[in-house]
Structure formats: structure tokens, C-alpha cells
């Protein structure tokens, strides 16, 4: 049932648009497309000189799950050392696999588990952020 999927917290996260927008002077930026559905996420990040994420902004052309995921990710990632983003990614994958409950708002994505075609909607913002942080 979609009631379970689109529960209040997911809808609230998606609607909040918290962290949405562009950064004035991002240290890095990356855009990720999902060619199958046309969704698109751009992540701007600003790092300090210890490679800590001090600011983050996302532009999402995507569904509510993708919007909500970008908001939840932005909240958790801000303040973290760049190196720890892989841990967040592992956490959301585990939530989608059903092998972990997830901390804070990541737990809101547990009901996505049985909807396998929607997993990519949740992970697209993570992929964009990981791309932005890749050494180049």
C-alpha cells in the first residue's frame, strides 16, 4: 500500500525542500541522471580545508522519494568529514535491503524496501554527492 510508502514523515521531508537550491561558490558539484526515468539530481558542496562538508545544496527534478532522500542526506551530511559519506551510503543501502533500521530520518525509507524499482529514486542523491566528492 502506498499509504505505507508515502507516510507522513516522507511527505513532510519531501515538501520541506530543506537544503534545496544552489551554492554561491561550491567546492564541488555533480549532476546525476537516472536515464530510465529522467530524474536528475545536482549536488553542490562546500568543503573546509579539513575536507569537512560545511555546506550542501541540492536541486532535484524527481519524485517524492528522491526529494525526501536529498533532504535527509543533506541534513545528515552537513558537518561530516568527506570521508564519511561512504558510511551514509552504506547505511541507506542497508535500510533498503532491510538489514538495518537506519538512524534518524534514514529510518523513514524502510517502507521503500519491497518497491525495488524505487530504490534508485532514494539512492540518486547519494550517488550525486559521492560523484561530487570524487577526487578529480
Amino acid at each position: 500500500m502506498s499509504d505505507a510508502l508515502y507516510h507522513d514523515r516522507i511527505v513532510a521531508l519531501a515538501k520541506s525542500r530543506a537544503g534545496a537550491g544552489k551554492l554561491e561558490a561550491p567546492t564541488a558539484s555533480a549532476r546525476r541522471d537516472n536515464p530510465l526515468c529522467g530524474d536528475r539530481v545536482t549536488m553542490d558542496v562546500r568543503l573546509d580545508d579539513q575536507d569537512r562538508i560545511v555546506e550542501l545544496a541540492h536541486q532535484v527534478r524527481g519524485c517524492a522519494l528522491c526529494q525526501a532522500s536529498a533532504v535527509a542526506l543533506a541534513a545528515r551530511a552537513t558537518g561530516l568529514p568527506k570521508a564519511e559519506i561512504g558510511t551514509l551510503r552504506a547505511e541507506i543501502d542497508a535500510v533498503l535491503d532491510g538489514t538495518a533500521a537506519g538512524e534518524g530520518d534514514f529510518a523513514a525509507f524502510a517502507p521503500v524496501r519491497p518497491y525495488r524499482s524505487r530504490h534508485d529514486c532514494v539512492t540518486l542523491p547519494f550517488e550525486a554527492l559521492q560523484d561530487a566528492l570524487k577526487p578529480r
Partner: protein, 407 residues
């Protein structure tokens, strides 16, 4: 309504099965239609009484298989308005049929030659031509689309010229449902000696096609969208064209003779059917064509258009909904795309799923058209003869819920 939709529905076993506890309201017919008992039974009969390889087997099963396969070709030829059966080529799908034309007919083109495609084409009618352009330097010329989601035939004079070799457009748009003005396209092509190909993927599911009346040169469609099996598609082309075209794939049954020094080609249609063809799927498609030819398409047309009107009326009552496509019933088939302000198509489709309603959401493999309308995607409803009022009403209820939830 004289047409008995309940009786038709009983021919489709899947429609009687609940999905996740809901009755199934299958409105994703443009992606793949469902298949009737007549098709399932024909394939099973073939597999259990006549299965063998075709061509040149002298035993009874091989004769039976060849008869079933060539019989399917004759069925398709009748479905296409009584064209000669030798002009019908079986391929692995609609996409494979377009690739065949792009590679084979395309190899006869020269750098600087032009191919006209519309902006509403499915990727399957864009990418093979793009690959050809990369390979041999032909030029692709986009034909614009009107605000109503129709191919803008008024723009033909600006796009078609003496270098145009082919105009390849969708007979019916898989996003907007608009039927192209074939006569205008054919006239523009004839004026400059160009050929016309119609992508009939979304037209074939709505009844027999009168190719002789249309006057085009190539026609393609997919089995699985026309109530047949997967893994089968059709290319029809005029004999003169097929005879001038080199083979696409190489393999068994398409050759004259083979040595390591020289190979000669068989005549059409065999030249284009390398290897063991998709016999079972072809038999299924033949049965689907016979099944379609047995229906009353005048009655079905009014049935489908009645449902389309009900759908459009229902959506008109949703404040945040707007259509991508013709606003009325003229010059269209029952393919309806819409967008809701503030609700992404995937979320609409997901919520509809929880009502047992199956639709497709996204770019529908028509990214240039999405760009034309500056949208990421649409929610698309494709109506088939077996759909009924209950399907439309379930969809409208789901749309209301989507709006409510995200409002």
C-alpha cells in the same frame, strides 16, 4: 453500447486475477498489452504439436512448423491490409525492425543525405538514425511538434528538401496519442522523391491497418503491444525496396551460397531473417492478428473513445492536472498523458498502483518531446478494448488521492 466488454475481458486470464489484493485495472497497454487465450493457446498448440525448425526439414513436424510460421506471415499480411506476404519480415521486435531499416536501407544512403524525424519520436525511432548519422554522415532533421502534441505537418516545407531521403515518424504518438497526418507526410515525401516509414507500435493495437491506402514505404510494429508474445516484431516494406536492400544480420537461411571467398544472398523475406526465426512468437502474433481481425473495431473505437472522454472529463475536474496532448477526441487514439502540479509522475503511478491501477510514468522513451514541453515526464494512460468504466474510475480515484496526499 453494443460492444460487450465483459465478454472480451473473460478472454484475458490476467484481468481476472487480483494484484496485491486489488482488482487489476491495467492501463499500461502502451508499454505492453495483455494477451488473450487465443494467443496463449495458439503458442501452446504450436509448442506441443508442431515444434521444429522451419525451412527445409522434410519430416512432418518441420512441415507443420513451416506451415505455422508462414501462416503467421500471411495473417500479418492480411492484418496490414492485404499486402503480399513476401513483403512481411519477422524481426525480434519493433526496435529490431527499425534498426534493420536504419542499417540496411541506411547503408544505401550517402553523406549529406537527410532523414526527417519528428520531435515526438520514441527513442527506438531516433537512436538507430543517430547511429547511422555517426557512421556515415547523414543528417537528421527534426520535425517540430505543436502545442497539442501533434507532429507539425505545416512545418514539412521547411524541413523536407531535395536531400531528404526518408521521413520516419510515429503513426501514433506513444505519449500524446496523436495520429499523424499521413497523407501530408506522404505528399511532402513524394514531392522530393523521399521514402516514408511509419512506426506503428501504438497504432497496431487498435485494429487492422490499411497499408495500401496509406501509401507509405515502410511500416513497423511490435507483437507484445498488439496482444501477441514478446520477442517478435514486424517490418513491412515494398518489394522493390527490400530487393534493393542488403541483409542486416548474417546467418543461416538468408544465404544463396557460402564459401570463405564469396557469399550470395537469398531473396526477401529470407534475406532479412538470419538464423532460426522467432517461430513460436510469430505463431502467437499471427493468432493475435487473427483475433484482432475478428473484432468489431467500429464498436471498439466508440468504446475506447467513450472511456477517453470520461478520463479527460475526470482530469478536467482536477485543478492541478493538465494534459500533454490533444484536448479532444479528434485525430487521436486512447493514449492520454497528464501532469499534476506538485506531484511527480512516479509518485502518481505508485499511488495508483495501490489502487490496483497500472499506468506508466516517466519520459516514455521520448526525451526530446519531454524537452519540448519542458517536463521531466508524464503519467500515461493507454486504453485497450478490454478496459472498462471501472478502470477509468479507479484511476480517477487514485489521482484524487495523489493530489490529496501531496497537496
Amino acid at each position: 453500447m453494443s460492444f460487450d466488454v465483459a465478454a472480451l475481458r473473460r478472454q484475458f486470464p490476467i484481468l481476472g486475477r487480483p494484484v496485491n489484493g486489488n482488482a487489476l485495472h491495467y492501463l499500461d497497454n502502451g508499454a505492453s498489452a495483455q494477451t488473450p487465450d487465443a494467443v496463449l493457446d495458439a503458442v501452446r498448440l504450436y509448442e506441443t504439436t508442431a515444434r521444429a525448425n522451419v525451412l527445409r526439414g522434410v519430416h512432418a513436424l518441420a512441415e507443420a512448423a513451416t506451415e505455422a510460421y508462414e501462416g503467421a506471415r500471411a495473417d500479418v499480411a492480411r492484418f496490414l491490409g492485404g499486402v503480399p506476404a513476401e513483403e512481411v519480415i519477422f524481426t525480434g521486435g519493433c526496435t529490431a525492425a527499425i534498426n534493420l531499416v536504419a542499417q540496411s536501407y541506411g547503408s544505401l544512403l550517402k553523406p549529406g543525405d537527410e532523414i526527417v524525424l519528428s520531435v515526438l519520436e520514441h527513442h527506438s525511432n531516433i537512436v538507430p538514425w543517430y547511429q547511422l548519422a555517426q557512421r556515415i554522415g547523414v543528417k537528421l532533421r527534426p520535425l517540430p511538434v505543436t502545442d497539442e502534441g501533434r507532429i507539425d505537418v505545416a512545418a514539412l516545407p521547411q524541413v523536407v528538401n531535395a536531400r531528404t531521403r526518408l521521413i520516419s515518424v510515429a503513426h501514433v504518438s506513444n505519449v500524446t496519442g496523436a495520429v499523424v497526418d499521413v497523407a501530408a507526410v506522404v505528399a511532402a515525401a513524394r514531392g522530393v522523391g523521399a521514402k516514408v516509414m511509419l512506426d506503428g507500435a501504438q497504432r497496431a493495437p487498435h485494429g487492422p491497418v490499411d497499408l495500401p491506402a496509406l501509401g507509405v514505404d515502410f511500416y513497423v510494429f511490435a507483437g507484445h503491444k498488439a496482444y501477441g508474445p514478446n520477442g517478435i516484431g514486424v517490418l513491412w516494406a515494398r518489394r522493390e525496396l527490400l530487393e534493393a536492400m542488403p541483409p542486416f544480420m548474417g546467418g543461416g537461411s538468408m544465404i544463396g551460397s557460402v564459401t570463405f571467398e564469396a557469399i550470395t544472398w537469398a531473396p526477401p523475406p529470407r534475406r532479412f531473417e538470419a538464423g532460426t526465426p522467432p517461430i513460436g512468437p510469430a505463431v502467437g502474433l499471427g493468432a493475435a492478428c487473427r483475433w484482432m481481425m475478428g473484432l468489431d473495431w467500429t464498436a471498439i473505437g466508440s468504446h475506447e473513445m467513450g472511456l477517453t472522454q470520461r478520463l479527460m472529463d475526470g482530469l478536467a475536474a482536477v485543478r492541478s492536472a493538465w494534459l500533454i496532448g490533444p484536448p479532444g477526441l479528434q485525430g487521436r487514439l486512447p493514449v492520454v498523458s497528464f501532469v499534476l502540479d506538485d506531484v511527480h509522475p512516479h509518485d502518481v503511478a505508485q499511488i495508483l498502483d495501490s489502487f490496483g491501477v497500472a499506468v506508466r510514468a516517466g519520459h516514455h522513451c521520448a526525451q526530446p518531446l519531454m524537452e519540448r514541453f519542458d517536463i521531466a515526464g508524464t503519467t500515461r494512460v493507454c486504453i485497450a478494448p478490454y478496459n472498462d468504466i471501472g478502470d477509468i474510475d479507479a484511476l480517477l480515484a487514485g489521482v484524487d488521492e495523489a493530489v490529496r496526499r501531496f497537496a
